[in-house]
């Protein structure tokens, strides 16, 4: 295959007490990028408590909104430039970590705009600060990826920015931060992690390194997501395993690619203002059915990894899709867009926009089966109706 890269943080600290690694940091100032909810929940305090032992001056920017906008990033970057930290911490879900990555770039390179965060631009970061990501959900993988998703509110589109240079220096996976995650968020983010791993394993840019991480992550998610959803804080093992799996999925898709589940999910999320995990998960079974003609063998490999061993490749793949639909039911994820309470009239009125935005996504061209605009239209309609894909 063509030459390619595997990029990851220099250090991933995981397991009980991982947050204590913050005490080891050396520097003068640290800047935390987070949101108001995490501040109210006391999660930010847990991080600050560790950082106080370093003697560093701490400043907190807690204005990151779900699906962060360009404006928020630019505002945060301005505060960063005034404060001049040598460490930046992205603390939260994907929104906070992606916002931290983008703010970091604009802080290091005030001569650039957010649109310059692309794989072709040499950013030359780490002259002023380094980045630590601390995820507080188990799903996005944003702690270890080089993707930055920021919403352009004027164009109503999610900018899929990326640069290998924005991969954090350190990712800290402390299960104590996600122990109280509500069931709905556990389900949405857990499905996001599953989609990452399945797409990483089947896209055209898959590779040996991403395959290994994806397959193990899928095994962990199948085993522990239902338990984490059902038992919550009473099952710390399930919480910890899901937290690790999400980051492994992040390393997998970050070093291969996402496919059209994400292309459709990003489009759907942007148009209907639906949180990322949920907007993506809904399309997984439909896209797997659509991709069957190209990668039944790869779905069969995944099926085998989770204990589905009988039948031909296609039979195993179809059983896997059925198992995924059952998993979604078990964790109370909607199985069709109609189930999400969106009227057919409203959906059809926005169908052209959905197709157009999905077509623009890089996920489109690396998907194992590259859809035409008409294919996208049909996939969206089938997902609306909850109808199995037959084309």
């Amino acid at each position: 295959m063509d030459m390619w890269f595997f990029t990851s943080p220099r250090t991933i600290v995981f397991g009980e007490g991982a947050l204590e690694h913050l005490k080891e940091l050396e520097g003068k100032k640290v800047f935390i990028v987070t949101d108001k909810v995490l501040r109210e929940l006391g999660i930010v305090d847990k991080v600050v408590e560790q950082l106080k032992e370093t003697g560093m001056e701490i400043r907190i920017f807690d204005e990151v909104e779900p699906e962060p906008s360009k404006q928020t990033v630019e505002k945060g970057a301005k505060v960063l430039s005034e404060f001049e930290p040598d460490w930046i911490i992205g603390l939260g879900g994907g929104s906070c970590m992606d916002a931290a990555k983008a703010m970091w770039v604009l802080y290091e390179r005030p001569d650039l705009t957010i649109d310059d965060i692309n794989p072709f631009e040499k950013l030359n970061l780490r002259k002023k600060a380094r980045l630590i990501n601390i995820p507080t959900t188990s799903g996005t993988g944003a702690d270890v990826t080089w993707a930055v998703v920021i919403t352009d509110t004027e164009r109503k589109v999610k900018l899929e920015l990326a640069s290998r240079e924005v991969v954090a220096d350190i990712s800290i996976l402390d299960p104590a931060l996600i122990i109280d995650l509500p069931p709905k968020l556990t389900a949405d983010t857990g499905m996001d992690a599953l989609v990452h791993a399945i797409e990483a394993y089947t896209v055209q840019w898959k590779n040996d390194f991403s395959d290994a991480l994806a397959l193990r992550a899928i095994q962990l998610i199948f085993k522990y997501l239902p338990r984490a959803f059902k038992n919550g804080k009473n099952d710390p093992e399930a919480r910890e395993k899901m937290h690790n799996a999400a980051t492994m999925s992040g390393l997998a898709f970050g070093n291969s690619q996402i496919g059209i589940v994400h292309a459709m999910g990003h489009s759907f999320g942007a148009v209907f203002k639906i949180p990322h995990g949920r907007s993506v998960a809904i399309f997984l079974p439909y896209v797997m059915e659509y991709n069957l003609s190209e990668v039944a063998n790869l779905y069969a490999e995944i099926a085998e990894a989770v204990g589905i061993t009988d039948g031909s490749d296609e039979e195993k793949a179809r059983k896997l899709i059925k198992v995924i639909r059952n998993l979604m039911k078990e964790i109370e994820e909607p199985l069709s867009i109609r189930d999400m309470g969106i009227s057919r009239e409203e959906f059809e009125a926005k169908l052209d926009e959905l197709v157009e935005k999905a077509n623009e996504s890089t996920g489109t061209i690396v998907n194992p089966r590259v859809p035409s605009g008409e294919d996208y239209r049909k996939l969206f309609l089938y997902a609306y109706e909850g109808k199995s894909v037959d084309f």
Binding site: D2, F5, N118, P119, T362, I365, S372
Partner: protein
């Protein structure tokens, strides 16, 4: 051009044939329906190619409006420049290199708005798929 005749790459005939096939590609037409922007495709010498070849290609709303061989890269100013060595062009045309991946790994260089290109990756893929359909003879 006869059914079995091959077109030498790089040459004026090759880029004309590419333009003709692109205009017959419905997938490209759909993917690039909003695209406005012209290119220099530059083939730099290596592996037996002894001089630089520069193609001008004007792409407009899913169609190739013009394509020709230029005398030099200074002959025309374009919105984009896509440049790489002959050996990599061969691999690209044979379908052995992914067009986007080859930019990320610096096998090819692209000058112009990266954001605009990244929103048109499907069109880029179809451009390369069309190049692969030209019955090509390499030096």
């Amino acid at each position: 051009m006869g059914v079995n005749s091959l077109v030498k790459f790089p040459s004026e005939e090759w880029i004309k044939e590419f333009c003709k096939l692109l205009n017959e590609n419905k997938e490209y037409e759909e993917a690039a329906k909003d695209w406005e922007g012209d290119f220099l495709f530059i083939v730099t010498p290596d592996e037996g190619l002894d001089k630089e070849y520069v193609f001008y290609v004007d792409l407009w709303h899913g169609k190739c409006r013009e394509a020709r061989l230029l005398k030099s890269r200074d002959e025309k100013k374009t919105e984009f420049i896509y440049e790489g060595p002959y050996s990599n062009w061969k691999k690209l045309i044979k379908g052995e290199l992914d067009p986007i991946k080859s930019l990320l790994t610096r096998k090819f260089k692209l000058k112009g708005s990266m954001m605009k290109v990244m929103r048109a990756t499907k069109a880029a893929k179809e451009l390369v798929a069309t190049a692969s359909k030209v019955p090509t003879e390499f030096i």
